[in-house]
């Protein structure tokens, strides 16, 4: 019987684990992670479904993974659990001083008129888009995934994994969802932190998502109990403490776009280190374990600022790779069966 381990309990690890459990309910799957919600990278994020900081990841892959995730959230949105799970349907305005292309797979995409652009109080703006999309808050989604996984019989181990070779002794497939941790766990130095600071404020009358897509662009993202104001994207910055400079940068930009935010009470200030990589790494690798057993790693890390955006689409991709493994394995089994006859 195939045994699968999923390393990493963040948005990528949990969605991979759940997706695999749904597809293979009888297979033993173990989720191993040092951290779980609310202490994962995704937990502090607003959870916007919008590709962000994916560098050179091929567009067709981003589109495919985004669509897989969007379809997943759309169907959850139409069930009673949708709201509890952290999903929200929200109107979005994206504005830019450059020629940014709108994100793929959103609903009702339209260009903003020059008059509408003026309302954001940023004189350099040239283009803008309005559409409807989803947010999904990891703080609610992750516990939902974890509960689904454990109720379906998944095993959960809370511990730090130092390397995957040791896991290979006991598992046939190891799904590597270690995010920024991949720097150490698989010695991938191309993974770098992209520091993001955000504030959460109390502003219950904000019902729209506003994002300036410029390099110094700020954003306003309503969540269920607070509004997220952001942000920063400082590469190779390991500082997990919020700075006054960044706070001022964020608030000044957000207040300019939405003046009525000035009265909002600040609830928290948070920093997350996004797992940046030149491209998302999603591929199978066959190596030998510590005890020289051959096993398969399926890498699924380096999602930059797009963990929520791509989570389910990538999980489906992982499931496909597992399916390939199963097919290959059954072919091998048949071959060896025939040889042994």
């Amino acid at each position: 019987m195939v045994k699968i381990a999923v390393v990493g309990g963040g948005i990528i690890g949990l969605s991979s684990a759940c997706c695999l459990k749904r597809k293979y309910p009888k297979i033993e799957i173990t989720l191993i992670s040092e951290k779980f919600s609310p202490n994962t990278t995704g937990d502090g994020s607003a959870g916007v479904l919008m590709p962000y900081l994916l560098q050179d990841t091929p567009k067709d892959l981003v589109e495919r993974w985004s669509k897989g995730t969007l379809d997943f959230f759309l169907s959850l949105w139409k069930t009673p659990e949708g709201g509890e799970v952290g999903i929200s349907l929200i109107p979005v305005s994206i504005v830019t001083s450059n020629d940014e292309v709108p994100p793929y797979g959103v609903f009702g995409l339209h260009e903003l008129t020059p008059t509408a652009l003026q309302r954001f109080n940023i004189p350099t703006l040239r283009k803008g888009y309005s559409f409807t999309s989803f947010t999904c808050e990891p703080m609610k989604l992750l516990p939902y995934f974890l509960q689904e996984f454990t109720l379906a019989g998944g095993n959960v181990e809370e511990r730090k994994v130092m390397n995957l070779e040791s896991l290979g002794d006991n598992f046939d497939i190891v799904v590597n969802c270690t995010g920024l941790g991949a720097r150490e766990v698989v010695s991938d130095e191309s993974v770098i932190p992209i520091r993001g600071q955000v504030l959460r404020v109390e502003a219950p009358s904000v019902f729209q998502l506003i994002m300036c897509a410029d390099a110094d662009g700020r954003y306003i993202i309503p969540n269920q109990e607070s509004v997220v104001l952001g942000g920063t994207h400082q590469e190779n910055d390991w500082n997990t403490k919020s700075t006054q400079e960044d706070t001022d940068f964020i608030t000044s930009g957000c207040f300019r776009m939405l003046p009525s935010l000035k009265d909002a009470v600040v609830l928290s200030n948070w920093v997350g280190l996004r797992p940046g990589r030149p491209t998302v790494r999603l591929e199978a690798e066959i190596i030998k374990s510590t005890k020289q057993k051959t096993f398969t790693i399926i890498h699924n890390y380096g999602h930059g600022g797009s963990g929520v955006t791509l989570c389910w689409g990538c999980a489906l991709n992982v499931a496909e790779l597992v399916e390939n493994y199963m097919l290959e394995n059954s072919k091998l089994n048949v071959k060896s069966l025939i040889q042994n006859l």
């Binding site: 759309l74 949105w77 139409k78 069930t79 009673p80 659990e81 949708g82 709201g83 509890e84 952290g86 999903i87 929200s88 349907l89 929200i90 109107p91 609903f107 009702g108 995409l109 339209h110 008129t113 008059t115 509408a116 309302r119 309005s130 409807t132 502003a203 219950p204 009358s205 904000v206 019902f207 729209q208 309503p222 269920q224 109990e225 003046p259 009525s260 935010l261 000035k262 009265d263 909002a264």
Partner: protein, 360 residues
């Protein structure tokens, strides 16, 4: 001069503010027996959306009322006061499974920054067999915040508020006031049915739930009389429109119907926490009554300017009707003082009626 305003709902306070704007040095006193949560305005979702059947004296005047109201609220929306005044931007969908005309609104299509047909994909956002839909971005004006905000502004501007009940206009002569009223704006909504014996005023009963569902950030309208409108403190689920019903109690049958209709569009509402249910009687009239009448109160000639019968559109149209009513008053002043000034016809699209009269 002493100006009175009767009624402390959205019409009363918008009128009081408009009067102060036109006559900054005149004493204005607002009288009502019901305030805040006891007003019809309070329970309304407060979305800026005039019904296509809404009517004033002429179609052109009606359009101006709506445009003036929009501009009034939009100015506050763009300022730092928006949050305090309970005004914010909101977007959402009207969906229809049978009739495309239900998704159209000739008033709003000319006025709002966005009012468009939905894409096919958008029709899949809600459960149901939707064939037609519109998406638009409008405002919400929550009386729970707007009324106190307006009252503060009014009092800071020198206005006085009195809590008194009036059975007839003659009662106005019985109060101890700083000076007797010269003119009174009657913004009593449904109260005018008795105060003015106006049989054209008919209640249209509405019932809603107020629920906690913080994941709902957009509004949805669906077949028929179904709406889901998020707000600062709760989401309003509605509704019904029962003509000539005076029933102020929550009906369990209406509750069940509204709940079923709303949850069928948005199943996530099954997990919403019900905060309360509320019934309001919309002061419906075939057309809004905006006209001047002269009364004799305690041997004094007093102008009463009626401004009632806004139906379900008091929030949406009262800044415009207030402006119009005050203009009616100014015009009547000019006529009675025989100033001989030219005045702009009241149903033009200009924003003022020419020379202002102040300091009387």
């Amino acid at each position: 001069m002493h100006i009175g305003v009767l009624g402390a709902g959205i019409v009363g306070f918008n009128t009081a503010l408009r009067i102060q704007q036109e006559f900054p040095n005149v004493q204005v006193t607002l009288i009502a027996d019901k305030f805040e949560e006891d007003t019809t305005s309070y329970g309304a979702a407060g979305i800026f959306r005039p019904g296509t059947n809404f009517l004033g004296p002429t179609p052109s005047i009606t359009e101006n009322w709506i445009k003036d109201s929009y501009n009034f609220y939009n100015e506050i929306l763009q300022s730092e006061e928006a949050h305090k005044a309970g005004i914010f931007e909101i977007s959402g969908y009207i969906l229809a499974s049978e009739h495309s005309f239900l998704t159209r609104n000739h008033f709003l299509e000319k006025l709002l920054p966005i009012y468009r047909k939905v894409s096919d994909e958008e029709l899949t956002l809600c459960v149901g067999d939707w064939k037609y839909g519109s998406y638009f971005t409008t405002m919400k004006i929550e009386s729970e915040d707007f009324l106190p905000w307006a009252r503060t502004k009014f009092e800071v501007g020198g206005g006085k508020v009195l809590c008194k009940k009036i059975e007839t206009f003659n009662d106005l002569g019985k109060f101890k006031l700083s000076a007797p009223f010269d003119v009174v704006f009657n913004c009593t909504g449904f109260g005018s049915k008795w105060l003015c014996n106006d049989t054209r005023l008919v209640p249209v009963r509405g019932q809603v739930f107020k629920v906690k569902a913080p994941w709902v950030k957009m509004f949805f309208y669906g077949d028929y009389d179904t709406y889901i409108i998020p707000g600062r403190r709760s989401v309003t689920l509605g509704g019904c429109r029962q003509l000539d019903s005076y029933n102020m109690t929550v009906s369990t049958h209406d509750s069940a119907a509204i709940w079923e209709r709303c949850t069928s569009i948005l199943p996530t509402l099954h997990k919403a926490e019900i905060l309360k249910e509320w019934v309001g009687l919309r002061p419906h009239r075939d057309t809004v009554r905006c006209e001047i009448e002269t009364f004799h109160i305690e041997n004094r000639s007093v102008k009463i300017i009626h401004q009632y019968g806004h139906g379900g559109y008091g929030v949406t149209t009262s800044p415009g009707t207030a402006k119009y009513s005050v203009e009616l008053f100014i015009e009547s002043l000019r006529r009675s003082t025989g100033c001989g000034l030219t005045f702009t016809p009241l149903d033009s699209s200009t924003s003022s009626c020419g020379a202002k009269v102040s300091k009387l």
